[in-house]
Symmetry: C2
Subunit: 302 residues, 2 copies
């Protein structure tokens, strides 16, 4: 199933004329999943066609201002437009308190349920076809990287066989694909009657690592990502500043991608001091070839 | 003295692709004064060259989400860039509590003083050359319109006379202009020696009325504005919706401008449902000719 990534912003610390602060939206199976929500995110969503009414869950890395201050405005807009679907918010320890503060701002009336979950290492959310897991990062405050994993397909659905057996297209097919028996026209059918288990497919994996010193402590979790989105706040010439503020350089982020065997690396969270994406990209390419330093609102289909 | 107005945003309720939420910046004598601070304001300031480090005071109309949610991000950016000058924030009753909440968000470290003052009708701030006064509006929650008034000049300073008398250019001139005696080179001088009191000039007046039902309760305060910035959330065809939500239509705002003898009317806070500024402007023009419905980032020199 196609996964779409929209890079809503690419700056760190503060927005600039050209860049909003870093956030990433991921579309899967009709829903949007939002990673971080700095100021201006709702407008970036509007500009890129990411529906704020179809945001299933928001995953926060940590509570620094440049990662979360778009949350109250986004919630206010959702509420004003009559959202009634619950909204899930995941974050590190403290996220419940932070969300309580956000919902107490600006005379806010929120008619939908906001379900907040404090997370650490391991599975945060499981859907029928995906999981999202957290992995602690190294940023001086509780900070979490997120791994979106499409579930592996154990076999290929053979539609011709299903039609020949008289099983109508629709939810029954989905149940068979998920290994469940179904009944159609009074007859019972087993998955193996329509599935070819010789042809499986590994689910895609997207890892989103925002705000961290490079560290092998999160390597296991993000190994073999189809796409690794990693922060690169600094260039190597400012590595001492990166260490002080607990951030990565472009070269270090590329090293992480190489070490963890990522297929593609997307660098975001670039300091406003760097004016040219090519400068960041060239540094990263010394360590890892498949790298992109996108403009705001870039779209990647995985 | 020149007054510059920058319309930072023109939308209401939520931002759109084209419009940010309504805020207005006013430049006078080297300082910026900000009226409302919705989400995205700091980036609009960057785009239009309004220096967030030179913001002298922020005046909030009320605490609805579309008027204040840019405040935490703006304060965070000021703090990150080492602002040490105090920041004044004025607003209706409750503003102290609201600012406390804002400063408690997102692990914020604010190294400068934020001086908060709850205001009603009357003078909120007085500078050497200006005052800002509040006037209660009708919006269902405490809501304040603001009147920026350049002090009247009681006379014209005659620089040739001052130079001839041996009074050096600089702060002494300013003191004489403000009616104070000075001493230069051991000699005392009185203002009337260098001022021509036959040639005074009335100070300019800018009124900013955001979120209100039209009402003559605020007419006195805004009378004879050089520029009246007024909300026009709706068109007259949606007047019942305007009444329900305690807003003005374009026609009503123009009527206010005519009744109060404004020289120029700028309409902002336009509902996202209206796509064409001309539609709003044409309606207003039925009541008041000197009207403008600007795009975001429009600049007006008064």
């Amino acid at each position: 199933m196609a996964i779409r990534l929209v890079v809503l912003g690419t700056s760190c610390s503060n927005p600039t004329v050209e860049r909003n602060l870093t956030a990433v939206a991921l579309q899967f199976d009709g829903n949007w999943f939002l990673f971080d929500c700095p100021e201006g995110t709702q407008r970036q969503m509007m500009k890129s066609g990411v529906s704020y009414m179809r945001v299933h869950s928001i995953f926060l890395s940590h509570f620094h201002a440049d990662h979360v201050l778009g949350l109250p405005g986004l919630v206010a807009t959702m509420a004003m437009h009559g959202r009634d679907a619950p909204l899930n918010v995941f974050g590190p320890k403290g996220v419940k308190e932070e969300i309580k503060k956000v919902l107490g701002l600006a005379l806010m009336k929120c008619n939908f349920e906001v379900r907040v979950k404090e997370c650490g290492r391991g599975k945060a959310l499981e859907g029928e076809k995906f999981t999202v897991s957290g992995v602690p990062l190294k940023h001086g405050v509780p900070c979490i990287g997120w791994v979106f994993k499409e579930k592996d397909k154990e076999g290929t659905f053979q539609r011709e066989k299903a039609l020949k057996l008289g099983i109508p297209e629709g939810p029954l097919w989905s149940r068979l694909q998920h290994g469940k028996e179904v009944t159609a026209n009074g007859k019972a059918f087993k998955p193996e009657q329509v599935m070819d288990y010789s042809k499986g497919r590994e689910g895609k994996k997207i890892s989103i690592v925002l705000d961290t010193l490079p560290s092998d402590s999160y390597f296991d979790a993000i190994e073999k990502s189809d796409v690794l989105v990693h922060e690169a706040a600094f260039l190597d010439k400012h590595i001492s500043r990166a260490k002080e503020t607990k951030h990565s350089t472009a070269k270090q982020a590329a090293w992480v991608a190489a070490q963890t065997k990522a297929k593609k690396l997307i660098l975001v969270h670039i300091s406003p001091r760097y004016k040219k994406n090519s400068e960041v990209e060239n540094e990263a390419r010394q360590e890892f070839g498949e790298v992109s330093v996108p403009e705001d609102l870039a779209v990647f289909d995985v």
